[in-house]
Amino acid sequence: MKTLPIESGLLLAGVLFTLGLISVLVRRNIIFMLISVEIMLNAAGLAFIVAGSRWAQADGQVMFIFILTMAAAEVSVGLALILQIYHHLKTLDSDAADRMNG
């Protein structure tokens, strides 16, 4: 079976990662930032799967499942916090949450 070379897989993951990264930087809505971070995490997961497939090991996929689980946990806590913030600030603009500085 002809497989894609590993570099292209990693490249895809890298592009995904960069996209996520850029959107974290440019989005101001906290929910979007959270989503962008999730994209980055999934990009990392993708990279693991590519790597795992290169070495024909299950490790990469195991790792991906862990990442998924973790991301889920993170998102749940995150959403709870975002709810709180919305409660306090009446906005989801992350730039508004700058009461602590200096």
Binding site: L21, L25, I30, M33, S94, D95, A97, D98, M100, N101
Partner: protein, 628 residues
Amino acid sequence: MLNSLWLIPTFPFLGALILVLVGSRLSRQVAARIGAGSVGLAALLTMAVGYDFLNSGVGAYQYTAWNWFDVAGLSTSFAFYLDPLSLIFIFVITFVGFLIHIYSVEFMKEDEGFARFFAYLNLFVCSMLILVLADNLVLLYLGWEGVGLCSYLLIGFWYSEAKNGYAARKAFIITRVGDTAMAIGLFMLFSIFHTLNIQDILTQAPQVWVAGTSMAVVIAFLLLGGAVGKSAQLPLQTWLPDAMAGPSPVSALIHAATMVTAGVYLITRMHTIYELAPLAQLWVGIIGAVTLLLAGCSALTQFDLKRVLAYSTISQIGYMFLAMGVGAWSSAVFHFMIHAFFKALLFLGAGAVIMALHHEHDMFRMGGLKNKLPVIYWTFLIGAASLAALPFVTAGFYSKDQILWLAWAGEKGNVWFFLAALTGAFITAIYTFRMVFITFFGKAKTQVSHVPGKRITIPLVVLSILSVFGGFIELPHTLGHFTLFSDFLSLLLPSVSLREGVESSEWILQGIAGLLALTGVYMAYVFYIRSPRISDEIKSSTYVLHQFWLQGWNVDALYNFLFVRPFVYISTLNKNDVIDKFYTMLVRATEFFNGVFVKTQSGILRWYVMGIVVGAILIITISLFVQP
């Protein structure tokens, strides 16, 4: 009796100690007894010791009290050394000192710092005795600085006036300049001889050095620095006229009779070095000659009675320096002694006048005191005659004549020295009698408020006797050839060898000198008694010169401009310490960075994310491009 030598300085010291510690609780009478008595005891003891010394026939006697310090070969002790030279000095110090103490009892009787005054005066006598008795240069330096301290304390005795304090500080600081040179001289002496014992140095010096060695010259100049400071010679003479701010007995004792002649003592004591350093010795003479002229001119113009005497003192010490410059050591010492008598007399007399006239210092506001204060007038006149060196009858004639003669005839003498001395003698006569005439003749301008008592007159009388008869212990060839004084010192101090073919001219020179003195007196008479108009005309026609002389050749202004003002300016300018600015700058820089970095902590989440991204990019870039 010799071994009680140490008691001579100890008595005044104890007197001072008692007066300092409990003086304020003693009655004036007790304080006076302690103050004058301790010096009196010292004077008596000096007589006894001197008698013993003369009879014992030893050339010198040394007494070690204790070892002061002993470090790596620098061994000094509190040791006293008695030889003819120091004997003469301690005699003058204790004896004149005692007279002045007696005088002070009356002079100071209404002053609230009575005990304090005697404490200082006793301390001075003690320090001065240590100075002349010291067997090593460190101890001498102790006495040297000690008298400086007392001079400071006594000039500023009436401390509530800032002017007096200023004069006192000036005196101390200027003499300290000289002392510093002297201290360096001591360091050099130690590094060459590995000892600071005077006799050891004097015996070793001729073995170590040949005449004219540069090292000897340098050391001689450095010691000369100390001497000109203490003795108010050029270029450090400016403090002495101001020092007249002190009470008159102080001027008499410290600034005329004893302390200011410490320079003469030092150079005479170290004469071996000067003989090995002809250049330095020549300069001693030059300084003396120039100083005696400059100070004489200044004395001509003064109107403060004590300032006239102050400039006259500078001028007379100039004579002593001139004598030392031509190697006439014993003449210098002789003139010191006679000068101590008549100058103390003059100062005490002046003090009595000033006291009688309610602290009036200005001569032109005195006048006509001849009849009102007869004792003072006569004694003052005797002193003045001695100062002016009126021929044959005054001691001053004999002592000064010797210097004049040797300045001309001595091996190291020359015609310039002689001319300077001669001119000086003429000027001396003028300003002396100018002073006498203005003060005692003419109309009375201020009422006499206080007639001096016995305690003032007796010292004056005793001193005037000495000012007349003191001279007869040393008479020149031409007039009896009696050489008691120089014989006494001959073991210690070499005599001057004369140039060839000058012996016969001695009487001519004496004649000229005597005539000049008399002419001077006559001129003073013309200017200030017979036709005062002339003196006024001269004064107004030479106003600039007059002011210039009055201000002591404006040396004060020069020094202010050159040293004092720049120093104070720099010091004040930098009061807040410019170096501190550097550290403040460091702090400012850190605070600036703090300000910059704090801006990065904006509290905005995306900014923080950016930070991480930048960090990541940096790390990866570095990792990729900085390969080992």
